[in-house]
Amino acid sequence: MTVRYQLLFSIVALCATLAFATAAHAQFGLSGSDSALSITFSPTTPSAGDTVRLTVQSPLFEMPESIIVWRANGAVIAEGRGVDSASVEVGAVGTETRISVTVTQADGASASTQATIIPAELDLLVDSDSYTPPFYRGRPQAGAGTNIRLQAVPRFRRAGTTFPASELVYTWRRNGEILGSFSGRGKSTAILPMAHLFGTDTISVEARSADGAISHTTSLSFSAAEPILTLYEDHPLYGILFHRALGASTFIPETEMTFAAVPFFAQALHAYDPRLNFAWRVNTAEIPTKRTEPNKLTINAENSSGVAFIELGITHATNYYLDAKGAWNVTFSSGAGGGTDLFRTNQ
């Protein structure tokens, strides 16, 4: 009998050691190496206020037949035969919740283990350096050829001490593959090229305290945004009317107007980036672009029918993914009338 218990104890100790060595998460600390039990919880990296579901597993104990008692910070939160899971609501960031579970078999064999949950939070912020016009209040979205700009904002705390973002170790992954050059201590930001035109990328970042005691992982998925070609009026008094994009068919109560094209989310530093090639057409006739402001077109509709079908295509000198097109039917208030479409374009 004694030998049998010694053998059982040895197996339990071995399993406990293995379990300690392969602990799934740093927030889960086993207090004793003599435990044959392991606790898993979901979510694996809880945030403040989360309700965490705890599950106990063992290769040795018959859980359905065992009496299981769960405690959180000393208070019983669940107990009963075969109760191998329980839920607990964790506190604020940095607040420790000590979990203990005791499993007792019908034959009196018993084991217990402990874990400590320290909620942490990790925000993953994203935008892009794609082109948006001045005073644009929306988010620039990553078009093909632009860069995704990512910033991790961690909130790690323990025993009242906050871990500075610069002291944490970050591991960046793209579609599961570790980005070694972007990962490391203090590397809370990453600037990644948005190479794909199609498909979805998943970016994740794991932040871990230097001692491995606290960690958190966050991920997000996104696709490349299509550039959006938008046409505005460039008013002589008010400037470009960014608040009033021209629709597909527009009536203009003037005989002359300057148009400004804005390639939202394109790879460009500004609207007249020299790498952008603007190809204007008016009523199928090619219009030479102005060197200094190729994104602008002036049309004078005097002595014409007043109808202009404006087409614009934008390509990029090095980014072959960029090929944005737009077309607008513009009807001017032409005073002179006439049957010809002899628009005077002033590029």
């Binding site: 939070e121 925000d123 993953l124 912020l125 994203v126 935008d127 892009s128 350096d129 948006t132 001045p134 005073f135 644009y136 209040r137 929306g138 988010r139 620039p140 979205q141 700009r149 990512l150 910033q151 904002v153 909130r155 930001t189 600037i191 997000l220 996104f222 959006i228 938008t230 505005y232 008094l237 008010y238 400037g239 009317l241 960014f242 608040h243 009033r244 994009a245 629709g247 939202f264 500004h270 609207a271 007249y272």
Partner: protein, 473 residues
């Protein structure tokens, strides 16, 4: 032919030449006056003010006669037309008489407050007052010209709406009670895309230079420019330019202190500074490009990621040591309006969520739980009332705004027709506060509530024109 006859002929020739010159001068002046009048009419001078009522009816309001008129666009009749020919010539030459008066709102020749005067001109300013009006309509279309920004100044008894004209950068002030509009500044700063004002007279006018860089002019309205005097005069807007390419700017409305986000080679930096750009201190840096800051009345700095439909966004409070205290996130298409804490009122936060064509609005008071409101709009169309009660006013699109409304709205590719809703954040309820007449479409943005909660101002995003709504009839 004797000398007497020669003199007669010479005198006749001289008289004919003088008359001819005067006639030519008259026709030249008339042509110029007509051109100016036509341009001014096109720009909205003398346009009638549409008055909307909650019952859906609409009428117009003439600022000159204070009587309802039938047409919204009523070109003013030139009073000179009813005068005699020589009287008109004499008046034009000497600049005296009624017929020498420029149409309402149009600067006269030689007036240094003209839109075409030199910057910082020092010539004696001329009065820039309009005819007093007893009381504007409940929904007052202050002007048809685009406006770059506005702010209520003064108390409830001397309340004024101060605003910046987009075309000229001139600062105007409108009296909500009398409808009187005066121009405060005469410094020409053309094409102002965005303007911020403070209660202590600072004005920040943002534009683009020839190279496409964002410029920010920080000016100060002279304290001698009266807001209540009927003889107030326009003066120069003195100031200086802040650094270029300030991507987004926020200002403490009381002190004028700045917090702005400027582009750097690494991304962006957040800088605090005095109103004129001195005492700069960088307290924040990021690789992200699109932060929208705001300084609350309680001094807190709020940083929100620019929003995009369906893309998660975050909002933080930025401490002066650079620490980011989380407020919200991740929330798809996040737009935020934070209410400052003050007095007995607790802080509250209103935010919008936009994804897959569905917009939701939430409110949270203090540390309480979030409540979803029964209206669908974005927080950019909302403003907290400064009073003790937790009241928010929001423009709420009538009908279905459509897919990706937020992105399209930011690009100016779509506009909504809004009703104004009043939200009681304490109770989590919302009710219609004002429904514009059916023939008035208002896409509400840049909405502000005055300190007493009696007036709401906003611009119509469709044309950037300025409106003022009196909450009590």
């Amino acid at each position: 032919m004797n000398m007497r006859t020669i003199i007669k002929y010479l005198l006749a020739v001289i008289i004919v030449l003088i008359l001819g010159s005067l006639a030519g001068w008259y026709f030249f002046l008339r042509a110029q006056t007509e051109t100016i009048t036509a341009q001014s009419t096109a720009r909205g001078f003398g346009a009638a003010i549409p008055e909307g009522n909650a019952d859906g009816t609409v009428s117009s309001f003439s600022p000159n006669t204070n009587t309802p008129v039938a047409s919204a666009q009523t070109p003013s009749t030139d009073p000179a037309a009813s005068k005699g020919f020589f009287s008109r010539i004499w008046s034009m030459v000497t600049g005296t008489g009624d017929n020498a008066t420029a149409p309402s709102g149009i600067p006269s020749f030689g007036d240094r407050s003209s839109p075409f005067s030199a910057i910082g001109g020092t010539a004696p300013p001329s009065p820039q007052t309009a005819q007093p009006i007893p009381r504007p309509p409940q929904l007052w279309h202050i002007g048809e010209q685009p406006v770059a920004g506005q702010l209520f100044v003064g108390t409830s008894t001397s309340l004024r709406l101060r605003y910046v004209e987009r075309a000229s950068g001139h600062v105007f002030e409108a009296d909500p009670e009398t409808g009187k509009i005066i121009r405060l500044t005469n410094t020409l700063l053309p094409k102002i895309y965005e303007a911020l004002l403070t209660e202590n007279g600072h004005v920040f006018e943002r534009s683009l230079d020839a190279g496409g860089n964002i410029t920010t002019f920080a000016g100060n309205i002279s304290s001698t420019v009266g807001t209540s005097s009927a003889t107030s005069s326009a003066q120069a807007l003195n100031g200086s330019y802040l650094e270029k390419n300030i991507a987004s700017l926020s200002v403490d409305r009381r002190s004028g202190a700045l917090f702005y986000v400027v582009r750097t080679p690494e991304g962006t930096a957040g800088v605090t500074a005095d109103w004129n750009g001195t005492k700069q201190k960088t307290i924040f840096s990021s690789v992200l490009m699109s932060w929208l800051p705001s300084i609350l009345a309680d001094g807190r700095i709020i940083l929100v990621q620019a929003a995009a439909d369906g893309v998660p966004g975050y909002a933080y409070e930025l401490k002066r040591d650079g620490a980011l205290i989380p407020l919200l996130g991740p929330v798809s298409g996040l737009t935020v309006r934070v209410r400052p804490a003050g007095g007995s009122a607790s802080s509250a936060i209103l935010w919008g969520q936009s994804a897959r064509g569905i917009m939701n609005l939430f409110v949270q008071v203090g540390q309480g739980s979030a409540v979803q409101l029964p209206i669908r709009t974005i927080a950019d169309k909302c403003a907290w009332s400064p009073g003790k009660d937790l009241i928010v006013y929001c423009g709420v699109p009538q009908g279905t705004p459509g897919q990706n409304f937020l992105d399209n709205w930011y690009r100016g590719a779509t506009h909504s027709s809004d009703a104004l809703w009043r939200i009681d954040a304490s109770a989590g309820t919302a009710e219609v506060a004002y429904a514009p007449p059916s023939n008035v479409s208002l896409d509400i943005e840049q909405i502000e509530v005055d300190g007493a909660g009696n007036y709401i101002t906003f611009t119509n995003a469709a044309d950037k024109s300025l409106w003022l709504l009196r909450l009590t009839k």
